[in-house]
C-alpha cells in the first residue's frame, strides 16, 4: 500500500473518531473531562488520542475549554444562554391586541401546516415576522 493512502486512511479514522466523540458529548449537560470520556469509551482508546481530538474540537469551535480539565459542548452552552436570554426578554415584553380577519389568519395557519420547515412556531410568530419584514422594506 502506498504511503499516501495509509496517511489518508489514518486521517479518515481520526475524523471518524472526532465525529463520534462530538456526537457523544454534544448534548451532555454537565462539563466533562478526559477521564470521564476514557471511562465511557466502549473500545479502549488512549487518553492522548481523546485529548488530541478534544483539542482539535476546541480549535474548530465545537466545544469550549472551561479550565485545565473541563470541557463543554458549544451546543449546550448556546442552549443555556438562549434560555436565559428568552427568560429575560419574555419578562419585559408587553403586548397589545389587534383584530385581524379570520380568513387571513386561516391562510397563515394553512401555510404553517403545509410548510412546517419555515420554522414558525404559530400564527403570531408569522405575523411578527411579516411586520418586521414590511418595516425593513419601508426603511
Amino acid at each position: 500500500m502506498k504511503e499516501g493512502s495509509v496517511m489518508e486512511m489514518c486521517l479518515l479514522a481520526e475524523e471518524q473518531f472526532k465525529k463520534q466523540l462530538l456526537e457523544f458529548i454534544e448534548d451532555r449537560e454537565e462539563p466533562f473531562d478526559v477521564e470521564f470520556l476514557v471511562r465511557r469509551c466502549l473500545q479502549p482508546v488512549s487518553e492522548i488520542k481523546i485529548h488530541d481530538a478534544l483539542c482539535e474540537l476546541v480549535e474548530e469551535g465545537r466545544i469550549i475549554r472551561l479550565d485545565d480539565r473541563h470541557y463543554m459542548s458549544t451546543r449546550v452552552l448556546m442552549k443555556r444562554w438562549l434560555k436565559q436570554k428568552i427568560r429575560k426578554i419574555g419578562g419585559n415584553v408587553s403586548f397589545d391586541g389587534l383584530e385581524l380577519p379570520r380568513n387571513l389568519i386561516d391562510q397563515v395557519m394553512r401555510l404553517l401546516k403545509e410548510k412546517p420547515g419555515l420554522g414558525y412556531v404559530d400564527a403570531e410568530d408569522f405575523i411578527r415576522d411579516a411586520i418586521r419584514r414590511s418595516l425593513r422594506h419601508l426603511h
Binding site: 389587534l98 383584530e99 380577519p101 380568513n103 391562510q107 394553512r110 403545509e114 411579516a130
Partner: protein, 62 residues
C-alpha cells in the same frame, strides 16, 4: 392560538403583538399612507403569504 371575536359582518381574530413592534408600525402608518395599524399588519401578512405562494384574495371582508 389567537382568540376569536365575532363581529357583525366578519369574524375577527384577536392577535397579540409586542407593543414595541406596534409602536414601530404606528410610526410607519402615517408616513407611508396606511389608514391604520391594522391595515399595515394585514398588508404585511398578505405580502409574506404571497412570498410563500400562499395568498388568495377571498373577499372584501379582509
Amino acid at each position: 392560538m389567537p382568540r376569536t371575536i365575532a363581529k357583525t359582518e366578519a369574524e375577527y381574530v384577536f392577535v397579540k403583538i409586542p407593543k414595541s413592534l406596534l409602536d414601530e408600525v404606528d410610526k410607519a402608518v402615517g408616513k407611508h399612507g396606511y389608514r391604520s395599524r391594522t391595515e399595515f399588519v394585514k398588508d404585511a401578512i398578505r405580502s409574506l403569504l404571497r412570498e410563500y405562494g400562499m395568498y388568495k384574495s377571498t373577499s372584501e371582508k379582509e
